[in-house]
Symmetry: C2
Subunit: 226 residues, 2 copies
């Protein structure tokens, strides 16, 4: 993609690590990627917090905390929820809840709304499940930063400096990747790998512009159409 | 109430203790109550499990487990969720989730759907919040046993042996107590104590038949109308 002169941006909902760590992992796998080429929920949340003068209480993974180093976290007036994994303890969830319910108008910012994901030791509840728990308890609607939020794709496009109709999204998640990109005016391919399931092809609301068997095939097709 | 010859049944969503322990606490506070006079979610769930041949995986408070002593819990084909408190760990929630998502048709039975409650050390997320988390992750709707479920009030009425129009509910929860009882055809008083909030008097959906300042006033009014 890069050798053909096309612009590339990675859109990830990864909230268990800083972009630096995420890029380090990709580089170790042989991908030539820099931090500037990654659009991730935490920096998007930081921009939103600054714009609105919000001071977060963080319920996130320990490894994500450095992304919020520059943000004022004293006397919190909102809660930022990420995939906190082992930090999703009963005590931490009650603490986040108490802060929210004590606010005149509770503000809950969620770094994604995934339902679950798979790790080597099995399926895990993702941030979206805990978001729903806090939404229900506080009778509030979370503001979701990350895919499939339109603003998230827009900020990736802004990084690229291209309009949506000149961009194409490739992803394995029918709703977050394909649906989100299409709502933003982009075309979207679904790869038949990763979290793809055959039942995705009968999804009631989202239909990709095309299916590809894997990422390499997606790249081949894009280059053929240049 | 009892001295006047009226029948009495306590309807509680308590799921942190067996009825035996609940009654012991009330008796220590001077209330002459027996286990048979208590309608609680766990025994209602046990009846439901037996009727439908369900074998539960329990995510409940340790002190509630004896209520399920007679129930077959091998090779679970449903999950029963109570206010598990300290048992609401990341590992336990993932375990319940994995069992559910692995079922052809996930069955989640929730002992109540309260949003939160207050203890001496502060507000705590109640079972309803965790129910919402699992519902979202598994794309399933929980079956709620306990207030405000109609079947729960019906089983209390069956214990009393009276039709709903001859029964009156007294409670502090506008939705679970008052709304639930009214949907079952009973009249309902809201006490202005406990979790009552002045904003309850503007509730968009539920309106009690009357307000009383406390339980004693409710009893006085009922006895005056005999």
């Amino acid at each position: 993609i890069k050798a053909a002169g096309l612009k590339l941006q990675l859109c990830t909902n990864e909230t268990q690590a800083t972009r630096e760590n995420f890029v380090r992992k990709l580089r170790a796998l042989g991908f030539d990627i820099s931090v500037a080429e990654v659009t991730a929920p935490a920096p998007a949340a930081c921009r939103l917090l600054k714009e609105r003068g919000l001071r977060p209480h963080l319920l996130v993974h320990d490894d994500l905390i450095p992304e919020f180093a520059e943000v004022d976290k004293t006397n919190p007036n909102c809660v930022v929820l990420g995939d906190a994994a082992e930090n999703f303890t009963y005590a931490n969830l009650n603490e986040a809840f108490r802060l929210l319910i004590g606010m005149e108008k509770p503000i809950l910012i969620s770094l994604g709304k995934g339902r679950y994901y798979k790790e080597t030791d099995g399926l895990k509840l993702d941030v979206g499940a805990y978001m729903k728990a806090l939404e229900y308890a506080c009778d509030v609607q979370a503001e979701v930063v990350g895919k499939p939020a339109k603003s998230f794709f827009e900020s990736a496009l802004a990084e690229l400096g291209v309009p949506p109709e000149q961009a194409i999204m490739i992803g394995d998640d029918i709703v977050s990747d394909v649906g989100g990109a299409q709502q933003c005016g982009m075309r979207a391919l679904q790869v038949r790998t990763g979290k793809y399931r055959p039942s995705d092809e009968n999804h009631p609301e989202v239909k990709p512009d095309a299916y590809v068997n894997n990422l390499a095939e997606a790249v081949d097709i894009i280059l053929q159409h240049l």
